[in-house]
């Protein structure tokens, strides 16, 4: 980090506390140049070395990847062996690395069929260095952002053992001012051909900021149509009014950490969840549960997490599973013990829901791109398009019918429907008659629905057809909203790490961080190479803890959470929230306390 020490001579964030947006505008282009990683100093390029191929392996493609030891650029091979997909690369200085890329080849090939690429960024940064050392975004980037992450703070009320990110461990407080945040949002809104429309305020724990409601308001003022707050929710358990204020300010949804239904699997916020849900109910603030999935730790509860989501479908809009991204240097045996990939998580869900949700019900994220193409063809305006790499994520929608879970794929022939939509878009682009094309599409919509299997509340008076007609043909966002209220979205997003890193995925990323120096950095470079991006940038804009405490008059330690287990588990709310999902009475108070303390949250 020599470069950063050099930079800190010229960058003193304390002096920027009173800066206005225009001051950030003029200063940041130079700062971002200084912060970019540099060849030879930070990394090397070894792309002339061809990756090794071995007998018994079926090569699918080659790609670029990184050395997990020195972050240098390497060529890698992606291949199939024994029903799984692997990635292998060799660094001339640190040897060979081999990793499972996707745990099921059949699903990999199915997903691969549905790749659509985006049209890129019209006002990019230059391509001065090789990808991924040039992130900002550059002209190589194939997708535009579907979601912008903005880190509001690195302070946190928890001290999870696996996290290296929070202020006390980092040694500084990173907390951009409101004016700085406005500048960052404007950077995202300036993007062409499409300004970013959706933002996630994240941390640390963003709810630790006293001005979190102001931040949401700023995002709305600057034109963000979707604002979500990524949180452990603990503050909301005790301050229901904050949920109301967040909703009133324009928060659309909470992205709520939720690693399991039991205290063992979710020691982060298991006990507070019932109260968080209640606060959000009162505020009409929807929730997406976000479980990080780790093999051998919580992968036995994936079905129960979905059942929990369905039980609370009045307020829970979706579950977005995130198979673990393995950070830091981890030996191969340990990686294999923890690693779970999208198809393996899907398989677990199939097993744990008695095949009510099977692997056939899932599709890759870019599967829905034809909808964007169709709306573009009608409106002649660029649309948000989820052109992420097919291996990055999966999704489906499920409906509840009495005690049954019905995935959307059971009553709509989605493949036929989306192929027809794509075909229709091409016809419209070629100048086909709009009304005849609509009529044909309507016919396809009708023929794609298996009415006998449609959930009853969508079957009566052909409600489903009306909804789909309004979504696809009238492109009515209210109809889309109504659709979402009737379903539970199930998603899966597997963020990469240094071992399975594929530059091809980076170049198609739809989730970006907006950084204080005015760059937009793909999620899997920002977090996977923190020494070049996340940590380097935030340290540069951070303030040493003691100085921060002096400036603010606050003590960072005072925000650490201490849990009152007895109080949280007593009463009906806790019991009602988990009833039918776990056997609450089988867990003693001392066990509850043990799980909390073991995780690092002290109890009182």
């Amino acid at each position: 980090m020599k470069s950063l020490e050099h930079l800190r001579l010229t960058l003193d964030y304390k002096s920027m506390l009173s800066y206005k947006v225009k001051d950030f505008e003029s200063l940041m282009p130079q700062i971002r140049k200084e912060l970019l990683p540099r060849p030879d100093r930070d990394y090397k390029i070894f792309i002339s070395l061809e990756p090794l191929e071995r007998e018994g392996e079926r090569v699918i493609e080659y790609t670029f990847s990184l050395c997990p030891e020195c972050r240098s650029l390497l060529r890698a091979v992606i291949y199939e062996k024994e029903g799984k997909i692997f990635i292998r690369k060799k660094c001339p200085e640190h040897g060979e690395f081999e990793e499972v890329y996707w745990g099921d080849s059949e699903l990999y090939y199915k997903f691969r069929r549905w790749q659509y690429d985006g049209k890129g960024i019209k006002n990019p940064l230059s391509t001065e260095f090789f990808c991924p050392y040039n992130c900002g975004l550059c002209m190589r980037h194939k997708s535009h952002p579907a979601l912008i992450n903005l880190v509001a703070t690195n302070r946190c009320d928890l001290s999870c053992w696996y996290c290296f990110f929070f202020a006390e461990r980092a040694g500084y407080v990173y907390e951009p001012t409101l004016e700085h945040i406005r500048y960052m949002i404007r950077v995202a809104r300036r993007l062409q051909p499409l300004p970013a429309k959706a933002i996630q305020i994240t941390g640390g724990e963003p709810l630790l900021r006293d001005d979190i409601v102001e931040i949401v308001k700023i995002a709305k003022e600057e034109g963000m149509t979707h604002v979500q707050v990524n949180t452990n929710g603990i503050r909301l358990a005790f301050e229901p009014d904050l949920a109301i204020k967040l909703r009133e300010a324009g928060t659309n949804v909470l992205y709520l950490s939720f690693d399991g239904v039991s205290p063992i699997t979710n020691p982060k916020n298991h006990w507070e969840i019932p109260y968080i849900l209640e606060s959000c109910r009162k505020a009409h603030l929807g929730i997406v549960l976000v479980p990080t999935v780790i093999k051998g730790y919580n992968d036995h509860e994936l079905g129960d997490i979905i059942k929990f989501g369905i039980k609370h479908m009045d307020i829970i809009r979706g579950v977005n599973f995130q198979p673990v991204s393995i950070t830091g240097r981890v030996p191969r045996a340990e990686r294999e013990a923890l690693r779970i990939t999208i198809p393996e998580a899907i398989k677990k869900i199939e097993e744990q829901t008695d095949s009510q949700i099977s692997s056939e019900d899932w599709y890759p994220v870019p599967f829905v791109v034809p909808i964007s193409h169709f709306v573009e063809a009608i409106t002649k305006k660029p649309q948000i398009s989820f052109t992420t790499h097919f291996a990055c994520g999966a999704a489906t929608y499920v409906f509840k019918e009495k005690d049954e879970i019905i995935p959307i794929t059971r009553f709509i022939d989605v493949e036929n429907l989306f192929l027809q939509i794509e075909k229709t878009s091409r016809e419209l682009e070629r100048g086909a008659n709009k009304y005849i094309t609509y009529l044909r599409l309507f016919k396809t919509l009708y023929s794609s629905i298996k009415w006998s299997k449609v959930p009853s509340r969508l079957r009566s008076r052909r409600k489903l057809l009306k909804l789909l007609f309004n979504i696809f043909i009238r492109h009515d966002y209210e109809a889309l909203g109504e659709f979402h209220y009737k379903t539970l979205f199930l998603g899966m997003m597997h963020f990469m790490d240094l071992y399975n890193h594929d530059i091809s995925r980076v170049q198609r990323c739809c989730i970006h961080y907006v950084t204080p120096d005015g760059r937009l950095v793909p999620f899997c470079t920002f977090n996977v190479i923190p020494e070049f991006y996340r940590d380097r940038i935030q340290k540069a804009f951070g303030i040493p803890i003691k100085e921060w405490e002096k400036i603010t008059g606050k003590r960072i330690i005072n925000y650490k959470y201490r849990r009152n287990i007895e109080k949280l588990v007593e009463g009906d709310l806790y019991r009602a929230c988990y009833s039918g999902i776990i056997d609450i009475d089988s867990i003693s108070i001392s066990e509850h306390k043990k799980y909390s303390r073991k995780f690092g949250v002290p109890t009182i």
Binding site: E61, Q115, D117, Q507
Partner: protein, 136 residues
């Protein structure tokens, strides 16, 4: 891009043959058809190829910038296959103010599509790609 030297200036053109794999499998061959220099008097002169070689790291970046601007294909895309790459070096006389390179892009999936592009470079202290025109 090549740094302008007051004595000698060189222009690189590239040959690429590879297989793209996503969003779909596709064979692709990119080759230069002609490289001309334009003088201040707007006279077009065929430039002379003086050498042929493998690519250096700087060449990879140079090639990628052109590919991205022309057909939105990155270096990672062309390395999904096993690319055959060559660099052709042209000498640029001091009288030249602009370079026009015409390239042919052959893409073959189920059917073969051939597209030609005119790439216009201006010469300041370096050679800059300033315009890409699709010819067919």
């Amino acid at each position: 891009m090549n740094k302008k030297n007051f004595k000698e200036l060189y222009f690189n053109s590239y040959f690429v043959a590879t297989q793209l794999t996503i969003p779909q499998k596709e064979n692709i061959v990119i080759r230069p058809l002609s490289v001309k220099g334009v003088t201040e008097e707007h006279e077009e002169i065929e430039l002379t190829k003086i050498a042929e070689s493998d690519l250096t790291l700087d060449d990879y970046l140079d090639l990628e910038a052109r590919l991205v601007k022309t057909i939105f294909v990155t270096l990672t895309d062309i390395f999904h296959g096993t690319p055959r790459l060559r660099k052709y070096v042209y000498k640029v006389p001091p009288s030249i103010t602009e370079i026009i390179e015409v390239i042919e892009v052959r893409r073959e999936n189920n059917e073969e599509k051939i597209t030609r592009y005119k790439l216009v470079y201006n010469i300041t202290t370096i050679i800059n790609l300033v315009k890409v025109i699709r010819l067919n």
